[in-house]
């Protein structure tokens, strides 16, 4: 039996590790941002989800729509983080 030993080509990853944000118990009276990356159809999906959430909560929620390109500018993300209590994003195709 013969053998060859080779080096694994897959590089180690050096990621950061963040804790997710604390979730509210209730979305009433909060502002929810919808972030669309301008890819076709994403706005339709987000707006529909926003409408359904509004209906579910009985109207006591502020849904705001945001559009940017992909990837989003940091200024857009900061604006969303500053002005919204929660964000729903559509970042892919």
């Amino acid at each position: 039996m013969q053998e060859i030993a080779v080096l694994n080509p897959v590089a180690q990853i050096n990621p950061l590790n963040f804790e997710p944000a604390v979730r509210p118990r209730d979305l009433r009276n909060l502002k929810i941002g919808l972030l669309w990356n301008s890819k076709a159809g994403g706005d339709v999906a987000l707006k529909r989800i926003g409408e359904k959430i509004e209906k579910e909560i009985g109207g006591d929620v502020d849904i705001a729509f945001f559009q940017d390109d992909h990837p989003s500018a940091m200024s857009t993300l900061e604006r969303l983080a500053d002005s919204c209590d929660a964000v729903i994003g559509a970042p892919a195709d």
Partner: protein, 442 residues
């Protein structure tokens, strides 16, 4: 979305089914493996009617709500990043003879997704140590943390993939410079590596190293064959590096819809000997005795066939009429935010000499292409980019349908090289991002 979560705002990411793995892998790579996802039960939201999207969106609303709501309060933790010491695992393969052991290695690497489908050279310790002699750098030196997957691009990790591709030690400095260039923010490697389009890096080498390494700049430079052996292995190594160090694997981060043979390997040298102009890297401020690698992203490639014309206007009219294609990403980038699409104009020596004989230089070529390669507004209005216009370009929505617009944002988006053998056949490539030139150092 992770940037928003980092700022203490809960998020949910809505994706379609094919992008779930991509989302999970990306979330892990960027530090938030617990990112909340809601999965639309459809392939994409493009090219479908609204009713189909409504149905899928209705079905995920409870998932979205579940991702936004919580029952516990906990303290916000700050980011943690641990110092990683580079390590290189050893994999052992056995067989009745060395050939069978090698076949077992190839089968395993292919099965794991670590290869490009062609047989690989085994990256034994011996071969990698030999490869490392191609540079003065220390094996554990971290060249960069390579996007999109934030892999540690140590010299040794690059060397391992270079061996697999069939490179020799003398190729290693080119690869190190190429990795540095690709990871520059303006190159937009995340888009190149993760797109649903067939984007791939192309290397263009200038300076004395091209001859030292026998990088083909003449006939067949972009194709296979013994004349392009260095071209082939260098381009191949770049692809393996993107996969195994950048973690841009198909279906997890690389979401390319159709793929392209260009993704196997794209590397050329400029034909400085047959060029009537100064070399590209000299026009970028380098001296002629320096060697550089320029990295372009390539989504589209066109062949330009003109064996008739001998004037600049004639030849470049053939160019302009070939490259003005609405169906490519590069023609629609200049009017959307934060986008640039640098193009490589690969003039055959015959075309270049005819253009230069009329007293034209590279800037004249850029200016002509910018002026003449245009498309009517009607075609732009038919594209999704109209939803993404930057404020200064919103006037396009009200422009007459027959108004002609340029296909690039400025004439310097066209980068002129002389490449190829005899004949009136040139080429043109375009992608996203800025072309980045990097000096090659030992």
């Amino acid at each position: 979305m992770i940037e928003i979560e980092k700022r203490g705002v809960p998020t949910v990411v809505v994706v379609t089914r094919p992008f779930v793995e991509d989302a999970k892998v990306t979330a892990e790579m960027f530090g938030m493996p617990h990112l909340s996802l809601a999965v639309l039960d459809m392939n994409t939201c493009s090219n479908v009617d609204d009713e189909a999207i409504y149905k899928a969106a209705d079905a995920v609303t409870s998932q979205v709500l579940g991702g936004l709501l919580g029952t516990e309060s906990r303290e916000q933790a700050s980011a943690r990043q641990t110092e990683i010491k580079p390590q290189y695992q050893v994999e052992t393969f056995r067989g009745n003879d060395k050939l069978k052991a090698w076949e077992a290695f190839n089968a395993h690497f292919l099965d794991k997704g670590w290869g490009d489908g062609f047989p690989l050279i085994a990256p034994t310790e011996e071969k990698v140590n030999e490869m490392l002699k191609g540079t003065k750098r220390s094996p554990d030196e971290i060249i960069t943390v390579l996007q999109p997957g934030m892999g540690l691009a140590t010299v040794k990790a690059i060397a391992i993939n270079a061996v697999m591709a069939g490179c020799q030690p003398k190729h290693l400095p080119v690869l190190i410079a190429a990795v540095q260039a690709m990871n520059e923010p303006e190159f937009q490697l995340r888009i190149v590596a993760m797109s649903t389009g067939p984007h791939t890096p192309m290397l263009v080498v200038n300076g004395p190293i091209a001859k030292e390494l026998d990088i083909n700049s003449g006939r067949g430079a972009l194709g296979p064959g013994k004349e392009s052996a260095s071209n082939t292995v260098l381009g191949r190594a770049v692809r393996l590096i993107l996969m195994n160090i950048g973690h841009a694997y198909l279906n997890s981060m690389d979401m390319d819809t159709l793929g392209s043979p260009n993704k196997y390997s794209m590397c050329i040298a400029e034909n400085e000997k047959d060029s009537p102009w100064k070399p590209y890297h000299v026009s970028r401020g380098h001296t002629s005795d320096e060697s550089t690698v320029t990295v372009f992203s390539v989504e589209a490639q066109f062949g330009i066939f003109d064996t008739k014309n001998s004037t600049p206007e004639g030849i470049l009219t053939s160019f302009a009429g070939t490259i003005n294609s609405i169906g490519t990403a590069f023609t629609r980038s200049w009017f959307i935010p934060r986008r640039r699409s640098d193009c490589a104009v690969l003039l055959s020596p015959a075309h270049a000499r005819a253009i230069a004989a009329a007293g034209w230089d590279k800037e004249d070529v850029q200016e002509y292409l910018y002026r003449e390669s245009r498309l009517p507004v009607k075609l732009f209005k038919n594209t999704e980019q109209m939803e993404r216009l930057k404020p200064s370009c919103r006037w396009i929505l009200d422009a007459p349908d027959d108004m002609l617009l340029p296909i690039v944002g400025a004439q310097d988006w066209y980068h002129i090289f002389v490449v190829g053998g005899p004949g009136g056949k040139s080429s043109f490539t375009a992608g996203v991002g800025r072309a980045i030139t990097r000096k090659i150092e030992a």
